[in-house]
Each structure stands twice: as C-alpha cells, then as structure tokens.
C-alpha cells in the first residue's frame, strides 16, 4: 500500500490532499459523503471578525471548464465559526485549518489571534489574496511590502503554523512568495482565483456587481501549475499547490513541480466525494509508478 503521508517540516499530514477554503463549507456538509479523516486537512471558508453578507447575487458564472465566483467572503463571523469548528471536531479528527481574512491589517491580526487560541485548530491560512473583497480585485498579496508587513505582524501574535495564500494576479509571484517566507510564513499556498470578467450582453453590464470575479476550476490548472513551479524553485518553505486539481494525476503533477501538498476546490462542488475519488487515484498512480511515498518525487521534475 502506498503511504500518502507528507511532511510539511513543522507537521506531518496523513495525505497531500487538503480541502480548499470556500469550497468545503465548514466541513460538516461533506460528512454524508466520505470520512473526512482521509484528508490532510480541511480549510474553513474564509472568516472575518464580524458576520458578512457577501456580494449580491449573481455570485457564480460558469465558463468553459471554469467557474467565476464573486461570493465576497460571505460568512458568519469569528464567533459562529468557533462553534462550527467545535462541532466538526466532535465528528472527525481531521486537521482543521482556518482561512483568516480582514478588511485591514488589524482585522487580519485579530482574527488570526482568535483562532490561534483554539486548540481544535491545526494551522491558519492567511487569505491575503481574495479578489472579491474590493472592486477591481485588489488585495494585499499584490504587494510584496504589504505582504511582508502583514505576515510579520500576524506571526508575532500567533502560536500556530501560518500558511500564506498567494494571488496569481501579480507580475512577480515569486517576489511576493519570498517576502511572505522571509516575514515568517511557515508555508505558502497558491493560487487563489484568477481575476476574470463575464459580460451580460443583453443588459450591457458585467455579470457581477463587483465587475471582476475569480476564476477557478480545471480551466486554470496549466496556469496555476506554472506559478507553483516558479515559487517552488525559489522558496524553501513548503508550498501547497492549488488550482484546477480534479484527478490523482493532477496531484502528482503538482508534487513533481515541488509542491509538498495540494488543495482541491471547485471540483468539490461538482462532485461531493471528489476527495475520496482523488485519494484513491493518487494511491493507484503511486502503485502504478512504484512510488512508496510522495517525497520520492517531490520536485523531481526533470528539465
């Protein structure tokens, strides 16, 4: 039997497969479909201090092999999320990761502190890369300086491993990645969604009130894989690859370019038990390719 465990340096995960924030609800919703404990972790939908309604409908628009979303980080606020986390912990031992958001740096720090203090939480993921908060898609991860400052401040106040989630909507993602790493990020995750646009030609308006939205799904995989490789070549902290993963083969592609683990997002909507299928596919591919543990191939892309 293939051994799916992966080592992030600061922690070992049972599997390279982690459920991506915003695509896995608060975990509980997937309990009817499979045992969440097969996963390396479950990341909660991004959370702010206060409850947020999110953006007005429509919030989704399907594109060829892709999905544009403008959810706008709708959520119940920190307090309610703590309850959800306790409920989930009561049902499964899977590592729970909190996706920390903020309208400004102070809020990021405050939310991070709150969840750093929760025993049920394994790590934090700093979501400095959501394109749906501000119109035009601006976010802290588009600026290396801002990223460094914010990561530094958060790290000072927490006692859990910190994953920093990067945006693909930048000129130099490696620069931002290294800024986050040097400021103390324990791991990097990438990518968040790509800025995209859809137009309603009848209304002569953008489909979304916020104009731009974030593109995810199989359509973006070749682009995300390229960015993950670039970051893996330069960063020494572990990198968690994200973007369009829908099969065990996809996971191995990310590992080969250097990712230590991966997240699956949009595929969870299409197929609630996708994580179970993909876990089985990773195992099957590892057996076929005679790989005992993924560390044997991590970053082993021959060029």
């Amino acid at each position: 039997m293939a051994d799916l465990s992966v080592d992030l340096g600061f922690r070992t995960l049972k599997s390279p497969l982690i459920a991506a924030s915003g695509t896995f609800g608060y975990g509980e919703e997937f309990l009817p479909f499979f045992d969440l404990d097969i996963l390396g972790g479950v990341i909660m939908k991004g959370i702010f201090r206060e409850p947020r309604p999110g953006n007005p409908p429509p919030r989704l628009h399907e594109t060829p092999a892709g999905l544009l979303n403008s959810i706008g980080l709708a959520g119940p606020g920190s307090e309610k999320l703590q309850e959800s986390i306790r409920r989930l912990r009561a049902r499964t031992p899977v590592p729970i990761i909190v996706n920390v958001c903020g309208e400004d740096d102070d809020e990021f720090v405050a939310v991070a502190e709150t969840f750093s203090a929760m025993a049920e939480v394994a790590m934090l993921e700093l979501n400095i890369s959501c394109p749906n908060v501000r119109q035009g898609g601006a976010c802290p991860a588009q600026d290396a300086g801002h990223t460094a400052r914010l990561v530094g401040r958060v790290k000072e106040r927490i006692r859990k491993p910190l994953i920093v989630k990067l945006s693909p909507n930048v000129g130099d993602i490696v620069g931002v990645a290294l800024a986050a790493q040097d400021a103390g990020a324990d791991a990097l995750s990438l990518v968040n969604t790509f800025l995209g646009l859809a137009v309603d030609i009848d209304a002569r308006r953008p489909v979304f009130a916020n104009i731009y939205a974030g593109l995810s799904g199989p359509a973006i995989k070749p682009l995300a894989l390229r960015l993950v490789r670039e970051v893996c070549r330069k960063a020494y902290v572990p990198v968690i690859g994200i973007g369009g993963i829908s099969s065990g083969r996809d996971v191995l592609e990310y590992i080969l370019v250097g990712a230590a683990a991966v997240q699956i997002g949009t595929i969870n909507f299409r197929e609630p038990a996708a994580a179970l299928r993909i876990t089985n596919e990773i195992e099957a591919e590892m057996e076929r390719l005679k790989i005992g543990n993924l560390s044997e191939i991590r970053g082993q892309l021959q060029t």
Partner: protein, 256 residues
C-alpha cells in the same frame, strides 16, 4: 442526501423543448419529498463544469421523474440522453414543502414551475382539497396537462398568454378571483421570477400562508459554495439550495 449513479429507464420529448426522464435512482427515490430537487451532472468532461439543479416531478421508488426545458448547454446535453444512459444525481436536496394536513391548498405553477407542485399534488391530492392554477405562454408550454387531469384535483384553472389553452392571459390576471372564490388556507407557488414577484403583491391582502419555490444559479446544491444567495426583505441573504428552495413568499425581496 446521496450522490448516486442513476440509470435512465425512459426518455421522452414532449415537444417545445420539454423533456421527461424516468431514472432509476433508488437511494434518492427512497426519501424524496415534494419540493426537493436534485443536482444532475450533465457531462463526464469538464464543460459544462457544474451540475444542473432540477426539481423532482414524481417519485415512485426506485424511480424518480424529471421534467425539464432544454434551454442552454447543460439541459440540451441532458435532452440528448436515452434509455440505458446513466448520470450522476445528487439528492434529494432542499427543504421541501410541508404537508399542511387538513388545509385547503392552492398550487400556482408557471411553466416548468409545475414540477414541485405536481409532485406535491401527486402525493397529497388524496388527503386534502387541492386546487391548481397552471399557466404558460401557450399550449406547447403546458405539455403535462393530461397527466395533471389524472390527478384528483378539486379545481384546475388553466391560463395561456396566447389563449391557445384555457383562459387567455397571465395566470396572475385570474388569480384574485380564484382566491376569493376558493378561499385557500395556503398557496404553494413556483414559476418565473416575475410571476412570483407579482404573486407577492397580489396575495398580500389575503390572510393565507404563501410559500414559493425559488430558482437560483447553483454551484453545489448542498450549501457549501454560497453561490445561490437570495436577498430577503430584511436585507439578509439566504441560500436557496439548503435554506430553500421553498421560502415564505413575503420574505423574499423581489425585484421591482
């Protein structure tokens, strides 16, 4: 709720883009109630990427019946399927209609909005007085009429915009009169948004409980993507897929 591989037993085109599918889906059929819906995967490939939400027209375990309009890419691909083809179905989803034992219930269906109400009528017609108002653009939009006539309804009122069947006009044009005459305790409605918005206005003066089944663009259908938000009169957003699709008509902020 489960994701199961349904096997198409029968596929029928009813003309005018309307289609019926009879699907063996024993797990879903075992627990589907009127008002529930399913998410159907239309393609093994990633275009279209998302499943499509469809109401459950009827449920005779191990079969469920779907009735849909082939409008866009997803539903057109569904329409091309035939007996022996299989497709992944997630369900039953949503909150369903309460039964309202002993109450006099008026069903109001616009076009394909007939789906959950037909299911309700089929399950509940024997147990309580049921009335149905059913409207569409024309005869071709009301292809289920024969089946509806076979239900034990206490009253059936047909409207067509072009007058090709029943009374001429929008069903909302005849609604007040029917409500005054039949004095229902409850209305259950489903149809295009402008129809539901008009109903919200027309029914306000009457002392009834009014429930409507809504449509929204859905990413997942089981509450995790937050894509299906609908605004309520308080300004709050609710998820159509798991907090609905059935909501009190007056709770929704209808476009004006």
């Amino acid at each position: 709720m489960l994701d199961e591989r349904g096997l198409i037993e029968d596929a029928r085109s009813l003309g005018g883009n309307y289609h019926l599918l009879k699907i063996a889906a024993p797990g879903i059929a075992a627990s589907a109630k009127p008002g529930h819906f399913v998410m159907v995967r239309v393609s093994a490939a990633y275009d279209p990427l998302l499943r499509r939400p469809l109401g459950i027209l009827e449920c005779r375990p191990p079969y469920i019946g779907l009735y849909f309009q082939a409008l866009g890419r997803g539903t057109s691909m569904l329409a091309a399927l035939g007996p022996g083809d299989s497709l992944d179905i997630l369900g039953p989803l949503g909150n369903s209609f309460p039964e309202f034992p002993g109450k006099k219930v008026l069903l109001i269906a616009g076009g394909r909005g007939i789906v959950p109400l037909y299911h309700y009528a089929q399950v509940c017609a024997e147990r309580r007085p049921l009335f149905l108002i059913y409207g569409g653009r024309g005869k071709a939009d009301l292809p289920l009429l024969d089946r509806i006539k076979a239900l034990r309804l206490q009253g059936l009122f047909i409207f067509s915009e072009d007058g090709s069947l029943g009374q001429k006009g929008l069903l909302t044009s005849g609604l007040e009169k029917i409500v005054r005459e039949e004095r229902p305790d409850v209305t259950l409605s489903c149809g295009p948004e402008p129809m539901l918005a008009a109903l919200a206005g027309l029914l306000k003066p009457f002392p009834m409980q009014n429930l409507a089944s809504l449509e929204a663009i859905m990413g997942c259908g089981f509450g995790v993507c937050q894509g299906c938000a609908v605004r309520t009169v308080t300004g709050a957003l609710r998820k159509v897929c798991d907090e609905g699709p059935v909501f009190p008509l007056e709770e929704i902020q209808w476009p004006t």
